[in-house]
């Protein structure tokens, strides 16, 4: 399991760069993970990251697009605008969760 240093914090990640131990995650780390994806986190980003965290706590899975829309109240367009080119994968990575496993 490779270790990587982001924002001066050393964490364990899998081959795709997803955190393997969520307890290592912090909001400060998220800023660094986002920067690596070319994203500067704003309140709108945090609303999505916080929803993923809340939903993960409940379902033990990263929410899919439809759940983001219906339960999180986050429109598809907004997700793609805030996390371009692979919104859910990027948001899940920045939020410190595993790679999403849903097809939709």
């Amino acid at each position: 399991m490779p270790d990587t240093t982001i924002n001066g914090i050393t964490v364990s990640v899998d081959a795709d760069g997803y955190l393997t131990d969520h307890s290592q995650w912090s909001r400060e780390l998220a800023e660094g993970l986002a920067a690596a994806e070319g994203i500067t986190l704003t309140d709108a980003h945090w609303k999505i990251l916080d929803f993923i965290a809340a939903d993960y706590a409940e379902k033990s899975a990263v929410p899919g697009m439809r759940r983001m829309n219906k339960v999180g109240g986050i429109p598809t367009k907004e997700l793609y605008a805030l996390f371009p080119d692979g919104p859910i994968k990027k948001a899940a990575k920045i939020a410190g969760f595993p790679k999403p496993t849903s097809c939709v």
Binding site: R66, P75, T76, Y80, G86, V104
Partner: protein, 165 residues
Amino acid sequence: MSDNDKIKKVSIIISRGSLEGVYPGLIMANGARMEGIEANLFFTFFGLYGILKKYMNDLKIATVGNPSMRIPDAKGFSMPTLLGALPGMSAFATHMMNKEMEKIDIPPVGEFIEMISDAGGKIYACKATVDMFHLKDDDFCPQMDGVITVGEFYEQAAGSQIIFT
């Protein structure tokens, strides 16, 4: 995998109008956008029913001519063709499948098309079919980006993988 090996764009042709004929193309197009892959959808022949606003949310599973069809569930008994032809069979099978899809958050066709369009996927209708079926722009869902010829489809598909379903 280097960046050069990555698929950058897909053009998916949906040619069948049954529920199981339309969904795979929608799932592939949406999945492409979720991976940051550009996606075009081209609806032709009966596949066009997937974007006709009056019919798109009422597509049915083909219970006749489907030798993999089993009852009462996917691992049940093989369903005799004659049974599949009974009135209401297709509606029943469709109802069952829609229920299962809802459970895993696969949206109804109309909502799925909207999701793909909002994700930046392009949705086209085949001109030959539109002429053949005497359809007007008004018959289509608002997400339809244009009625195009096969030649225009190939232009739009430049640099993409073409997938026929």
